[in-house]
Symmetry: C2
Subunit: 317 residues, 2 copies
């Protein structure tokens, strides 16, 4: 059984086929959020703090941390800002973090200060990227998200994307990095632009799981890009990828419809033992007008009955 | 490609792997609805009419018709009441119907008056049942729901349920009935009582599709029996069974959360061409408080871009 161990200073989480779906909160990311970018650049972390607390309260399993405030001189600005953001968030919340950057020096700086066992997001199949990131993964003994594109870009052919993922896993093995420390992102295309995007991901996730034995993740909301009522599409895509074997996603945990889909899918694949988390979350549920779901009572950071501490570490293989 | 053709007097629908999910409206069924049973027994069809119209407006593809008002003398009461109910509903709506009874004489009476090509619901693997129902299926050239239990009851072992389904398909072949006219119900157990109930169904549906080449259906809401906020569980179960290859379900189309899940899953498996039905249904969508879904504008009986008429009949194989 593939188990990817991630940890904060005090809490361990397992990503795995037999574990509740790992929700990686995406909100702390200035990409496309001009106000947040300006705040972070000015040293104001009020929104970062509010987003961290809100995502934990909504039930996030981990938090993604991205400090890419500018494309002008990221090699200078991003490493210190990543360090500062990580320090603030890891003092504030107890769940594991992902160090998210396309700037290798920012990842390195983040790894130097992050407590526990953070997830690095990400490496691609590009040779230069592999040679920059994989030594860091080995040195700090942390897991990494592997994105299925390389120098040729993102292929629309899922077989090519599978081969890129396989190449990264093999390349990592050369560094002594095990498949259970690679979390593959098969890349989700917008269904509105490519009608086969859903079926591609379902098939790819099954292959990645059966043939490479790796955990998987994705930028979930890409699937609904350009469509009306995106949350409805996202909330159906989640059970489908979970039924296909996906084990985590980078997504917004503050959307009740999507989080309800995660919790229900955990029940339906049998990773919410005795439906315990579902019953605890929805036992007093009252539907809104029209029979529609509403936000449940804040779950105070529970992460779905995951195991922590020694048992979890022993379970990591 | 397996195509099951069902039809009213004027409208043909294909159930198939390449078609939008077939929603069989479950509401016209007095089982467990004492008031409706009393009304129907007294010759009052007001609720039947209201339920028929509401289900069509909500987007049902077909309507299930059950006239089992009493367990006392069903052989006498059910056949004429089935006939009367069918006549009323088929005058009222233009979508195909399912003749639903455990009383073989009621199915026979229904087949004599039903227009088009109704679906018979159901036959089991019990020898006596097979010998009563299959000759009717052959004589009237209609498709039938095959439920995966037999004289030994409902097995908790999915392999046994698969073998029962296989036995029914083989038995039907002896009568000259093709697999595309058998719609197998693999039987959905409550997930609250059996933690593997979901995984069982996903695996069974894939086997039924790949090994027997049959369409599938289920009583969908069984999955959430006994749990709080059942609609949340149902709405995640729908995309999962659709991703596994299920092609229809007997369910309540008047629940916006479940119907939204059906429409989104159709988009995600590629049976809603160019996302046309989704965009038409949700283009003016406004989320309710809390970002939750509400009922879309009534869809006036659209059935998701299905083909009708000659093209559909030619497509049935």
């Amino acid at each position: 059984m593939t188990h990817t161990l991630v940890a904060s200073a005090t809490k361990e989480i397992i990503i795995g086929f037999d574990q509740p779906f790992c929700v990686i909160g995406e909100r702390i990311n200035p990409t496309g959020r001009k106000k947040l970018a300006a705040e972070m650049e000015a040293g104001n972390f009020d929104t970062v703090i509010a987003d961290a607390l809100a995502q934990v309260a909504a039930g996030a399993t981990m938090l993604d941390i991205n400090a890419g405030v500018t494309a002008v001189n990221p090699n200078e600005t991003e490493p210190p800002l990543m360090v500062e953001t990580l320090k603030i968030v890891q003092e504030l919340v107890d769940i594991p973090l992902a160090i998210d950057s396309s700037v290798s020096s920012a990842i390195k700086a983040g790894l130097e200060v992050a407590k526990g066992r953070p997830l690095v997001n990400s490496v691609t199949g590009e040779v230069e990227k592999l040679e920059e990131i994989l030594p860091l993964i080995k040195k700090y003994d942390v897991p990494v998200v592997a994105i299925s594109n390389d120098e040729t870009g993102i292929s629309e052919d899922p077989d090519v994307r599978f081969e890129v993922a396989k190449k990264i896993v093999e390349h990592a093995a050369d560094y002594g990095i095990k498949p259970h420390d690679i979390v593959v992102d098969p890349l989700v295309m917008p269904i509105g632009a490519m009608g086969t995007a859903g079926q591609q991901v379902f098939a790819l996730v099954r292959r990645l799981r059966n043939e490479l034995g790796v955990n998987t993740t994705c930028g979930l909301s890409n699937i609904s890009f350009g469509l009306p009522h995106r949350h409805g599409i996202n909330a159906s895509f989640i059970p489908m990828v979970i039924a296909s074997g996906m084990t985590s996603a980078i997504m917004n945990p503050c959307r009740p419809q999507e989080m309800e889909a995660v919790r229900a899918a955990n029940v339906l694949v049998g990773t919410d033992a005795n439906c315990g988390n579902w019953i605890q979350t929805y036992r007093d549920y009252k539907p809104a007008a029209g029979g529609a779901p509403v936000a449940p009572v804040a779950s105070s950071g529970r992460s779905g009955g995951r195991r922590g501490g020694r048992a979890a570490r022993r379970g990591a293989t």
